[in-house]
Amino acid sequence: MNARLLNWFKFSSPATFYPLAGRLVPIFTLIAVALIGVGLYMSFFVAPTDYKQGEGYRIIFVHVPAAWMSMFIYLIMAFWAGLGLVFNTRLSGMMTRALAPTGAIFAFLALWTGAFWGKPMWGTWWVWDARLTSELILLFLYLGYLALQGAIDDTRRADRAGALLVLVGVINIPIIYYSVQWWNTLHQGATISMDNGSKMGVTMLWTMLIMALGFWAYTIAVALVRVRSIILEREADTTWVSELAEVRR
């Protein structure tokens, strides 16, 4: 095993990761607050009114970042899950577990904001369109993962079973992403693509990106806090935990 891999294993031990995560949390919290603040300002005061949809289109600035995040988080979970199954590191199970609730929340928010957008635009809260349905499926995948975790007492089994489930479900991500291209549906196509440039105004694009980055920072901060709690719970009877300052208080 080469030195870099060893190094990685050391980093992935809960005892070293716990303080590191502790130091990272405030940084990402700050970034999140700043970016989301700027993003909100831009989405209400800088971005111009859409000529067709009026002010209603401003929902895009939460809808699209939330939808992106719901998919990204699942991909990251899948990454950790794969790592956990291959290398059997304890931290990866905890990371997967820590990301899932946030992912579920973003999936829910994408659905919610989409529904609140659909009502004025399409005249209905919900249609059984491909992208909408697959986003709903994504929410179910998150809930399934969480339910499975809740049902298993043994953490080791829970981690491995959860990892497997996440990996199986990952096929759904490309389906969601490309659903609009594969089947022509009611829902908007991807506006941001590499080849044909952006169809939206540059400001709108920037606002969306800034909001998305803010959501990223938020996700990282929240996941780190959660993983710290999980580490504490699982390592409760080790000596390093009992020697922590916050425990001895």
Partner: protein, 222 residues
Amino acid sequence: MFNAFRTLVGRDLLLAMRRRSDLFTTLFFFVIVVSLFPLGIGPELNTLRLIAPGVFWVAALLASMLALERLFAIDYEDGALEQMLLAPQPLFVLVLAKVTAHWLVTGLPLVLMAPLLGLQYDMANDALLAMVISLLLGTPALSLIGAIGAALTLGLRGGGVLVSLLVLPLYIPVLIFGSGSVEATASGLGGQGHLLMLGAILILSLLFAPLAASAALRISAE
């Protein structure tokens, strides 16, 4: 290896024959669901023809999902699963054998029964054909995908719902393409595209599901 596969399929079919009615549980459920609807909704043929693809595919999906619970559970309880894990064959072969037997017992009868029931709903011939083909491609995929969920939830409290929750997201595409193919055929648009997708799903799940399910079994049997 092939010998073990045959033995296990043979055993499961024999067991199904012994508990004769296991053979019929799923089929019977399918028949009930499909036949109760006219009772609950009323006998107008136009409505019935409209909802037929949906009713059939939902019924098939539910029947298949319910049958999942027993896929590994009995073996788990009486200790036969431990012995399977300790057999000197690659586990995925045994899993494939169990799924095959399971489909032969629960899926195939349903496919064969569908055209008969379709007449009850006054379906056209080409729609009936599309239905049979779509079920023939779809139900094995359902069994294969379901095996992963069944293996993951083995021995857990409330395995029943959990398995549905885990498996449902993966089932919905099959449902959509399945009922879509029948609807498209019935409305004259041609269902080949949907059927191709179903075929692709089947092949994918044949490749990956046994592996995933056997990994899950190892995890659950600890």
